[in-house]
Amino acid sequence: MADTFERVKKIVVDRLDVEESKVTMEASFKEDLEADSLDVVELVMELEDEFDTEISDEEAEKIATVGDAVNYINSTL
């Protein structure tokens, strides 16, 4: 669980160029981390690679916060 969060956090920090402290479970990609829609699509792609899983378009659309991503990934592991 914690491990998933750390891995997601690293990708978010790299991709969105934000400070680590801003990447909390509650942080919204678009509102708090200044991502646009395409950034979120790219993030989801990177998460798929990192966790070797496939996230359907429907599931991806529901991912709004860092926590959504972490929880979804944990549910598939």
Partner: protein, 246 residues
């Protein structure tokens, strides 16, 4: 010019698509030649490309079928390691007057000529986003700009392709993926061999350059857009029609 680049040309077995596949290969690109049914013809294009010191494979896929398209793109990336240039060229005609046109005739042309472009574009966008670069070139038609009696289905699809080109160009610009359309006029291929002598002559009178186009005329403009020379051009529709539509 395109050394090390990887191109996928849909409908590369015949006509304009074949000329595009050969032109990109001559410039050094490795080319995946897609076809629907003409396996033999696709193989001939592959064999010809291999004479230019470029690599090539043929891939059967119906561009209107999402599963086929996904498998095709996966094959290209597995085989060549990247996908830099997509040319959406596959197309069909089923001409009829609007009042006689059957629902299937309309649907089939929209599926292949418009939905096919959407599916292939969506399919490659993931790979191109990862690479942070890419060129998508859609073969439209000048009738998509002017309209043409007897081609309601085809014109609707081609006008749709032009709109899709502009939207995709805007959506993907920040990721350095450039999307343009090339609109051929009257080009000599199997598609236009179906026309009567009379239709041909009346077309000729509308072409300021007074000749029909060759598939190579289209291929060279595609090559420009695919190369670095076209790096500040996106969202455009370039007419290759001897001046027919200005």
């Amino acid at each position: 010019m395109l050394k090390g680049k990887v191109a996928l040309v849909t409908g590369g077995s015949r006509g304009i698509g074949k000329a595009i596949a050969l032109e990109l290969a001559k410039q050094g690109a490795n080319v995946a030649v897609n076809y629907a049914g003409s396996e033999q013809k696709a193989q001939e294009v592959v064999d010809e490309i291999k004479q230019y010191a470029s690599d090539a494979i043929k891939i059967q896929a119906n561009v209107a079928n999402e599963a086929d398209v996904k498998a095709m793109i996966k094959t290209v990336v597995e085989q060549f390691g990247s996908l830099d240039i997509l040319v959406n060229n596959a197309g069909i005609t089923k001409d009829n007057l609007l009042m006689r046109m059957k629902e299937e005739e309309f649907d089939q042309v929209i599926q292949t000529n418009l939905k096919g472009v959407f599916l292939c574009t969506k399919g490659v966008s993931r790979q191109m986003m990862k690479q942070k670069s890419g060129k998508i070139i859609n073969i439209a038609s000048i009738v998509g700009v002017t309209g043409n009696p007897g081609q309601a289905n085809y014109v609707a699809a081609k006008a749709g392709v032009i709109g899709l080109t502009k939207t995709t160009a805007k959506e993907l610009a920040t990721r350095n993926i450039l999307v343009n359309a090339v609109a051929p006029g009257f080009i000599e291929t199997d598609m236009t061999d179906l026309l009567t002598e009379e239709q041909r002559n009346s077309m000729l009178q509308m072409i300021p350059l007074e000749r029909l186009g060759k598939a190579e005329d289209v291929a060279k403009v595609v090559r420009f857009l695919a190369s670095e020379d076209g790096n500040y051009v996106t969202g455009q529709t370039i007419h290759v029609d001897g001046g027919m539509v200005m």
